[in-house]
Amino acid sequence: MNQFVYCDVNLCIGCGMCERQCIMSHYDLKMTEVKLNDPLQRARCKTYRQPELKAAVHCKQCDNASCMAACPVGAISKRDDKMIFIDESLCIGCRECVLACPFGAVRMAPVADGRVVATKCDLCVDTKAGTPACVKGCPKKALTLMNDETLKAWLLHKQEHSA
């Protein structure tokens, strides 16, 4: 099973810290250097803070990913047996994955060399820390990296609660 970042909406306050942590982690920036409106600083998740909606949306790292099936050049593949990864160097910018994702989790964004490529949550796999910065940085601990272990614990908690 692929790992993925899960947002517990019971805890989320829609503060958007996860978006900032994502940018800081991927571009090696300090909090003060983050500019949310700079298209070259792309957050891979999106938060909502409305009176009746506080949630963060991440790529679900689907095990039978629509984006992977839609990619005509094999730029999207399963990596390390635990996630769906977009190889930006292979991306031709055809937008098939963007349109295929049922969650709107894949977006087109410009990169430094002038190309426009598909981007989505990559579990911070190529960053210094190597683990999702959003999970660590969430002030309410609303985000969890779900893997076999954490998912089991989460399910057990739910099952015991409902029993």
Partner: protein, 176 residues
């Protein structure tokens, strides 16, 4: 971001009206008054039929188009909102045809001042036609074709993303 046309296989009935509309829009004269033996038919959109579905294939106006990369003479280049094909520069090397992962570029014969040239042929979003807007989209009888303009993709993504958040919110404990 580039504009582009995309088909929806759920609505496509495989009637090929889009292919005819494409040819007529680019040629400008009535197709029913033309002797079928006298002209060749080179649509820039293609209907593909498999056992289970019918679907259109046309240029995706890719942001990092492989056809642009392989063209040795710059006949294919990135425009402001589409991938442009300058037929007069095309030397007929066919590498774009091989490079396109969708098979959306094909070769066609054109008569240029008496000589026959074989050049590449791909969707130009009807930029050089009288209507100026994609004829396939306006003529599709089932609205299976959509013209994605500059913000369309972003809007479609934002809508799905928001719905995902709303769905998660809907199962919040203490709420219906």
């Amino acid at each position: 971001m580039n504009r582009f046309v995309k088909g929806n296989p759920l609505f496509c009935i495989g009637c090929r009206t889009c292919m005819v509309a494409c040819v007529v829009a680019h040629r400008g004269n009535g197709i029913f008054t033309t002797d079928p033996e006298s002209e060749d038919f080179y649509p820039r959109i293609h209907v593909v039929k498999t056992k289970t579905k019918t679907m259109t294939v046309q240029c995706h106006q890719c942001e990092n188009a492989p056809c642009v990369k392989v063209c040795p003479v710059g006949a294919l280049e990135k425009g402001t909102d589409s991938i442009l094909l300058h037929e007069e520069r095309c030397i007929g090397c066919k590498q774009c045809t091989m490079a396109c992962p969708f098979g959306a570029i094909q070769m066609k014969s054109v008569v240029d001042e008496g000589t026959v040239r074989v050049v590449a042929n791909k969707c130009d979003l009807c930029a050089n036609t009288e209507e100026g807007v994609p004829a396939c989209v306006s003529h599709c009888p089932t609205d299976a074709l959509t013209f994605y303009e500059i913000d369309s993709v972003q809007n479609a993504v934002d809508k799905k993303n928001l719905q995902t958040a709303l769905n998660a919110w809907a199962v919040k404990e203490g709420q219906v």
